[in-house]
């Protein structure tokens, strides 16, 4: 009897459980949602569209086999690719913008971009809000761009402003000097080599700098390593003992004759502020010079200005053609007037030349990984001292790592706190303290979160092709090297971005005679721009060599075409020039706008084939240009080129 009763009870229990399962499945959350959608469909669509629309029922999923993902988001997000639902409430609203056009759901799913748990079929399990057991909840807003970076591996990702800013921040701050970061290399970090730094520095300066670089320069790129006083003393001794290459002999210089006022004039003529900031004004390609008088020795500065590549072979600084007297005056100006706001310094410890202290300094140099940014002879093969950041975007995070701070234990928060204060999350961290603002740290986190662990199939990934290094030889190559053209200009993707004029086809854009003049006397082509090409002091012979090479080699054959001046076409072009309102941005005949270059001397400066190509499709040559595309016909572009080539009397070049 007992067994029968037991079976009866069990049978009823099984029946109850089975019924409960079917009942629960019938009452699933997504079924209710889909019923709501069907009602909404009746209101939003007209009967004809309704009859054509596919029936809505059952779980819908996208299965991305190459990424091993299943996304069931469209089970509830039913109107996401249907424009009729633009004003519907969530979860039925159409996807914002044109993203689904470029990233169709059947190829990308949803979680690739948005994160969350794709296999879920309920609101909370999909990780719309943070779940304790799913590491990546749905990202929104700025953090969403980190997911763009999973596939878009190029440095600048179009339409992803925060990700691009973050990646540029990572490049600028030289994280790759200490950490392995895919897509970044330590060569991008610009810190001087230190093998001869003992000749360069004033001893009173180095202790202040090592204690806190921002005490010397508010915009110092070097972070604060939180060094102990012993380490500072050791490193000072070590650095001041580095005397590999002595500076050029300046004993013949009569410093008593130096004229700082003339030095200041030379400083202006050479346009040093294009690269060097002084008191908040100027460029950032070179170090800020506001307080350089307290930093460098006079003899070293003389040698550096005479031949910058002597102890810094990779320097971006060019070799001007100054005479010794001019350099003397420049040095006098720099070392007497550019004092910044330095307070009086204490003399360094007299022990600083002892060998034990130098050895301690070398150990500190290696322990803190200084060689990562400051490349040093003999230390090329030492490993990077920071942990590898490959896959950091998928790093698992334990609540215990937050050391009791009341912070949501997510990876973005961990990275943010680590960047703001590196020594709080882990007690013994060698990572230095950068003076990031909140925004800088936040965008860097967005950049870091895009570095994921999973290997993606090649069909999913976009990268920018690595540029071939451009190293011309011969007389042109020697001049390019001396005047460091590639510090500011680019050829075939190699070089700097200070200038907005890449040199790839400069020979087809500018006339040879103009180039010869310009290289010797760079004028202001566009009014109101702070950064100007410096006056190098080059000889006419050098200018001719450069111009000849550029006109022969750096050309684009598609832009070269024969040109015959045609006065009738020029008149039509002049009328078109007025009708299009070109003068609102360009100066012609001394009158006009300040946005684009002065066109008054186009007949002596530009080439007609280039003018036509530029006017026809400017964004093809310069993607961000302010020159609009007027949809000109071929004859219209030709007429305008004719008109511009007839203008030979203007120009806002500097008067020699």
């Amino acid at each position: 009897m007992r067994l029968h009763q037991a079976f009866a009870v069990l049978g009823v229990a099984f029946l109850a459980i089975f019924s409960w399962v079917f009942f629960k499945e019938y009452l699933a959350e997504w079924r209710t949602t889909q019923a709501q959608f069907r009602r909404l469909e009746q209101e939003v669509k007209d009967p004809h569209a309704l009859s054509l629309a596919p029936p809505v029922g059952g779980i819908r999923q996208v299965w991305l086999t190459d990424l091993d993902r299943v996304d069931r988001c469209t089970t509830c997000h039913l109107g996401v690719d249907d424009p009729s639902f633009a004003r519907a409430p969530q979860p039925f609203a159409t996807h914002r913008g044109t993203w689904l056009g470029t990233h169709p759901p059947d190829r990308y799913g949803c979680t690739v971009c948005h994160g969350g748990q794709g296999e879920a079929t309920t609101y909370s399990d999909a990780a719309h809000h943070r779940l304790p057991y799913w590491s990546e909840s749905i990202r929104a807003g700025e953090l969403l761009e980190a997911n763009c970076g999973t596939c878009h591996r190029e440095r600048a990702v179009p339409q992803a402003f925060w990700l691009t800013s973050g990646r540029e921040q990572i490049a600028r701050d030289g994280c790759a000097a200490c950490h392995d970061i895919p897509g970044f290399s330590r060569e991008e970090t610009r810190a001087p080599r230190l093998e001869s730094v003992g000749y360069k520095l004033q001893p009173t300066w180095i202790t202040v700098w090592l204690a806190n670089p921002r005490d010397y320069l508010s915009q110092a790129r070097m972070p604060n390593f939180r060094l102990t006083p012993d380490e500072i003393a050791g490193l000072s001794a070590f650095l001041l003992a580095q005397r590999a290459v002595p500076p050029l002999d300046s004993s013949a210089v009569d410093w008593g004759e130096a004229d700082p006022a003339r030095g200041r004039t030379l400083f202006g003529e050479a346009r040093c502020v294009t690269c060097h900031m002084i008191d908040g004004r100027g460029g950032t390609l070179g170090p800020e010079l506001s307080a350089v008088a307290s930093k460098v020795r006079r003899e070293w500065l003389f040698s550096f200005l005479k031949d910058p590549a002597r102890d810094q072979p990779d320097t971006l600084m060019l070799r001007y053609r100054f005479t010794d007297e001019e350099i003397r005056d420049l040095v006098a100006y720099l070392t007497t007037e550019l004092l910044g706001t330095t307070e009086p310094r204490t003399a360094p410890d007299a022990r600083y030349q002892s060998p034990t202290l130098v050895e301690q300094g070398r150990e500190a140099f290696i322990r803190h990984g200084c060689y990562g940014c400051h490349r040093f002879a003999g230390m090329e093969n030492l490993p990077k001292i920071g942990p590898s950041l490959v896959g950091v975007g998928d790093r698992p995070v334990e609540p215990a790592e937050f050391k009791g701070e009341a912070v949501l234990p997510t990876l973005p928060n961990w990275l943010f706190l680590k960047l703001r204060e590196p020594d709080t999350l882990m007690a013994e961290s060698r990572m230095p303290t950068y003076a990031f603002t909140d925004m800088e740290a936040a965008v860097a986190v967005v950049g870091l979160l895009s570095i994921r662990k999973a290997e993606l199939p090649a069909s999913r990934v976009t990268t920018a092709p690595r540029p071939e290094p451009y190293q011309p030889q011969g007389a042109f190559g020697a001049l390019l090297n001396r005047y460091r053209c590639l510090s500011c200009h680019q050829v075939r993707g190699t070089g700097g971005t200070l200038s907005t004029v890449p040199l790839d086809r400069i020979g087809s854009q500018l006339q040879r005679a103009y180039l010869v003049d310009y290289l010797q006397n760079p004028g202001a082509v566009r009014v109101g721009i702070e950064e100007r090409m410096p006056k190098f002091g080059m000889t006419t012979e050098e200018a001719r060599t450069l111009a000849d090479y550029m006109s022969t080699v750096l050309v684009d054959d598609s832009l070269d075409e024969p040109f015959r001046p045609d006065p009738e076409a020029a008149r039509r072009g002049e009328r078109l020039f007025a009708a299009l309102g070109c003068r609102s941005c360009h100066i012609v005949g001394g009158r006009g706008g300040y946005v684009g270059p002065d066109l008054g001397d186009s007949g002596r400066r530009l080439k007609p084939g280039w003018i036509e190509a530029w006017l026809t499709a400017p964004e093809r040559w310069k993607p961000d240009t302010l020159q609009p595309n007027y949809g000109l016909k071929v004859e219209e572009a030709r007429d305008l080129a004719n008109y511009l080539m007839s203008l030979t009397t203007g120009g806002t070049g500097e008067k020699p």
Binding site: T98, F416, A441, V445, G581, S584, D624, Y630
Partner: protein
């Protein structure tokens, strides 16, 4: 038996009441990274589309129209007639009118040709973003004035 049942019920009741009556709230954990972006968005007071529009405006338009669209850009003084003050002039027309000017140039609505056509340079979504930002400029909140 009865006393045991009453005792058990009393204990159960005590446990239920005890767990319900916990003192105070636990500290709500902070979310510092999201807070940085939220703070910035609050200060700017712009939606995401408006922020995209603002970036485009600063790059393409501000040199003539000024950073806040008040007709005081560095090039404005070279223009005759000068660009208007958007705080006043935008309200006169519909957003579709503004979009016509941005896309086809000021000459497309019968004005001088000084504002160039951007319809072939900018994508349709960019034009929408610019119009969204112009709506902000037309009705500046006190934070944006």
């Amino acid at each position: 038996m009865r006393r045991v049942a009453i005792a058990l019920l009393a204990v159960a009741g005590g446990v239920i009441v005890g767990t319900a009556c916990r003192n105070g709230n636990e500290a709500v954990p902070a979310d510092p990274l999201i807070d940085v972006f939220n703070r910035r968005n609050q200060e700017e007071g712009l939606t995401r589309g408006q922020t995209d529009g603002k970036r485009l405006f600063v790059h393409y338009c501000a040199t003539c129209h000024g950073d806040a669209g008040q007709g005081d850009g560095q090039n404005a003084y070279n223009l005759d007639p000068p660009p208007p003050d958007f705080h006043e002039s935008l309200k006169v027309h519909q957003p579709s009118y503004w979009r016509q000017i941005i896309e086809g140039g000021s000459v497309a609505v019968g004005r001088s040709p000084q504002c160039p056509p951007w319809g072939r340079t900018l994508a349709s979504s960019d034009l929408d973003a610019l119009v969204a930002y112009l709506e902000v400029l037309a009705n500046p909140s006190p934070a944006q004035k």
